[in-house]
Structures are given as C-alpha cells and as structure tokens.
C-alpha cells in the first residue's frame, strides 16, 4: 500500500470506535461502522493532512466514499489536480 493509502487508513482508524487492523482497499466504509458525523470528521482530517478540499455532502450516497480504496482514489485525484483543480472540483 502506498503512502496516501497508509495515511488514510491511519485517519480512519483514529475515528473508528473499535479500530481493527484488517483494513483493505476493498473494505466498505459501512463495515467499519463509520457514521455520518464520523465521516465528516474523517474528511476534515484528510483535507487537513493533504491540504486539499473535498466537496463531500453527507446527504448524498457518494460513490467516492463507498470503500477505503475509493476514498484513496478521490484524494489522489484531488492532490494531482492541485489547489486550482480542487477549487474547480468544488463548483
């Protein structure tokens, strides 16, 4: 697992009520018992760690937040887009 994935899993563990070690890229977030408010805090931590902005909305079934791997992919694409790209993604 690369640096981005390792860091994201670290953040997920920090917010899980019952942290566990067997987290794979294919693990669905629902399996980690992460609820909406937890996810808002996780997204905040990810934004802070990677200096990006993620336009996440707790009201929507966002495909980008289904599995650990999909979160990693989303973060990587926002990092690649850079600050200007992240801004464009917001609109």
């Amino acid at each position: 697992m690369d640096e981005v994935a390792t860091k994201i899993i670290e953040i997920l563990k920090k917010h899980m009520k019952e942290p566990r070690d067997n987290i794979e890229l294919s693990t669905p977030l629902t399996d980690l018992k992460i609820e909406s408010l937890d996810l808002a805090m996780i997204v905040f931590d990810i934004e802070d760690s990677f200096q990006i902005e993620i336009p996440y909305n707790a009201n929507e079934e966002v495909e980008d937040f289904k599995t650990v791997g999909s979160v990693v992919d989303r973060v990587k694409s926002l990092i690649a887009a850079g600050p200007a790209g992240a801004g464009a993604a917001k609109a």
Partner: protein
C-alpha cells in the same frame, strides 16, 4: 370558560414575521400561497471560497426604516428581526404600550445562536485588523438573551423574560413555555417566538464543515434532496389568556390547544422515530384531539436525507391510516431553514392556513422519494378546510417540540 383539566385557555392575538419571502405576515403568507422561493445566491457578503453559495437571505434590511424602536436599533441583526416581528404582533393584538399590568406578561424570545455576525465582526477586527478594542456594545449585541430583553423593554414587560435555545426547536420551545405560563395563571399575556441571523461567511464555513447543506436548493421529500439551506428571520406570536382577550375585544386568531416536548436522548445528528412520534402524540393528548382531527401538518421537512424519511415514518406511527389523508407541507422549501426562528414562522403558516382555508405547498417537489409517500401538497397550494393544525420542530441533539392549534373559540 376553562379547559377540561380546569386550566386556562390560551389564544393567539397577534403575529409577526420577518422572512426571506416577506417582511410582514401578509407578504410572507402571500408568498407561501404563491409558492415563492426565497432561496438564492448569497448577496449580503462576499462568498469568497464558499462552495455552498446559497441561502435564504433577507435583502436590503435597514434598521433605520424597518425597525421603529430606537433602543432595538442599538441591538444587532437578530434583535432587529425580533424587534420588527414583535412590533407587528403587538400592534395587531391591540395591547397598550407599555403594557398596563407589567408583571402579568412574559417575554420569551429565543435564538439558536444570538448575535453571530457581531461575534464574527468583533473577532475579525481584533485578530485580523489588529484593532485595540471591540465596539462597546459588542457584548450586549452578542448575548442570546438580548432580543428578549430589547422586546421586553419595548412593551414594558416585567414578568418572566428570557431566551430559549434549542437549535431548530427554539421558537417552538419559547411558545410552549409562554403557553404553560398563561395556562397555569403565572401571566395573562406572552410575547413568544425566536429570531435568527447567522448568515455570515464564518457561519457558512462552520455549517459547510458539517456537510449537511445543499449547494443548489432546498428540496424537501424529493428524491434529489441533498441537504438543507440556511436562512434568517424571526417569527413571534402574542399569546393571551382567552377571557383576558375576549374582555378587551381583541382579535382572536387561533387557540393554542396543545404542546408536546420530548428528546430522543440518543444521538446529536441521527434522528429517532420515537422522539418525534412521542412529541406529536403528547401534543395531541394535551389538545385532547384524535389524530384524525388534524387537517394540516407543517412538517419540520429540512430536506436532509435523514430527516424527511424519519419524519414521514414518525407521522405514520402517530396518524396511522389518517397519515395519507393529512395535508403536509414543508414551507422550508420556500423560506429555507430559519433554524431557531423556523417554528415561529411555521406556527404562523398553520394559523393562516386555518384562517383562510388554504394549505401552502412544498415547492421543488418534482420527483418524490418513494420512501416519502404522503401528501406533501406538491408544488401548488390548495384550498382545504382546516380545523386543527400541527407544527413540527425537531432539532440537532434530538430535541423535539410540537404545537397544535385550533380555530378561535366559538
């Protein structure tokens, strides 16, 4: 004439509203009937980097022209809204100013957040502009009890005067407390409701971080709903003991028949069915009504993914077969979410619905969520005889408050 339990009857003799779709009750109600939307792109402050660029703003509000009282003008935006709404309500009631029996009146005007814009401007001037001091009135403008104090001073009210604070149930809690005071003989007259003015850059950032706001509109009960929309304003009622109102020939607009208060005591953001269900049931029990007697229900209807399904299920749990016959609407589809003040303007919508025999619509309901399968009066309001109405307020933290109104006593 008293209630079945020997307590005193409580009627509404005045109403005042300041909303994104009208700066008084008549304009507000005309907009509700017409299905007018008050949500739009933020214009009152620079959007800068906000990715939620919409709100239900009150545009062009000038305290010098829209607020009569000089001492209220010394307050801040949330007190101005309260002052204007209270003035409209008090004037309609025909009560003397100052009130002649001052210890027999209460003034309960709440707010979810009080002087939010004053906090932000003061800290901006200290931390960014390096000013040496804040404006001397900063503290008095910030405190959440300042609107109740301003309004109480305006009408010479010397009985219980304070603010309630329960996020989106604030106004409804204020009205239910004043109702209890009058019903149990503590006072004869009450000013009750709430005011909110949290549309600032900093506040939008705080809400944005919670990830519950929609970037493009308020769509209650719609499949595409994607969050609520913040708004500002005030809604205030004058409540009065029935005989007191009748003796002085006051305009009696409605009777406040029941209140139901409960707490989910479970989670800060995920609502429970049992909390809202019990609040609605308690309000019906207090009013002595069968669920089938309610003709119109003004829903909390925030357009968040969770609320609208949960509220629908709670309504079904209380109303049973009648749930599908009930006219329900979320007027937040037009006003946006006035947070603490929401219950105040929504109580007014209920009273106007009875008065005019017309139920306001839920606009933006183009594609209903199959899990929200009741009659939400989609898109266009309709004529309907309304005998009794219910107004729901459910807040973050699981704080539930419900009111039941009836026609003026015959």
């Amino acid at each position: 004439m008293k209630r079945a339990d020997g307590s005193r009857r409580v009627v509404v003799t005045g109403m005042g509203a300041v909303t994104p779709i009208g700066l008084d009750v008549n304009e507000y109600w005309a907009s509700l009937k017409a299905g007018k939307c008050g949500v739009g792109r933020i214009e009152n402050f620079p959007i800068e980097d906000l990715y939620i660029p919409i709100a239900g703003e009150i545009k062009g509000f000038d305290p010098a022209t829209h607020v009569k009282s000089k001492q209220v003008q010394y307050g801040e935006r949330y007190s101005w809204f309260a002052g204007r709404a209270a003035d409209e309500a008090w004037t309609q009631s025909g009560l003397a100013k100052p009130y002649g029996n001052p210890y027999r009146a209460c003034c309960i005007v709440g707010s979810g957040a009080g002087g939010y814009s004053t906090v932000e401007n003061a800290y901006r001037s200290l931390f960014i502009e390096n000013k040496k001091a804040t404006h001397p009135l900063t503290l008095l403008r910030i405190i959440v009890s300042s609107a109740s104090a301003h309004v109480g001073i305006e009408y010479g009210i010397k009985g219980p005067t304070f603010a309630t604070c329960s996020a989106c149930s604030t106004a409804t809690h204020a009205i239910s407390l004043a109702y209890d005071y009058i019903r149990n003989g503590v006072v004869d007259v009450g000013v009750a409701g709430a005011s909110e003015a949290v549309l600032t850059y900093g506040s939008m950032r705080v809400w944005q971080a919670m990830r519950v706001l929609s970037p493009d509109g308020c769509f209650p009960f719609n499949k595409k709903r994607n969050g609520t929309v913040l708004a500002e304003g005030a809604g205030i009622l004058i409540l009065e003991e029935y005989e007191h109102a009748r003796r002085r020939g006051a305009p009696i607009l409605a009777e406040l028949l029941g209140c139901g208060l409960s707490s989910d005591s479970k989670d800060m953001v995920n609502p429970d069915i049992d909390g809202p269900r019990s609040a609605m049931q308690l309000a019906l029990d207090d009013a002595g009504l069968d669920p089938s007697e309610i003709d119109y229900l003004n829903a909390h209807g925030t357009a968040t993914a969770l609320n609208d399904v949960n509220e629908t299920n709670a309504i079904k749990a209380v109303f049973g077969d009648h749930a599908s016959k009930l006219a329900i609407s979320s007027t937040k589809s037009m006003t946006g979410h006035l947070l603490g003040a929401g219950g105040g303007i929504e109580a007014i919508a209920c009273i106007k619905a009875m008065e005019e025999g017309f139920v306001p619509p839920t606009i933006n309901l183009t594609d209903p969520d199959p899990k929200c399968d009741l009659d939400y009066v989609p898109n266009v309001g309709r004529e309907k005889k309304v005998r009794y109405t219910m107004s729901n307020s459910f807040a973050f933290g699981g704080l539930n408050a419900v009111l039941v109104f009836g026609q003026p006593p015959a």
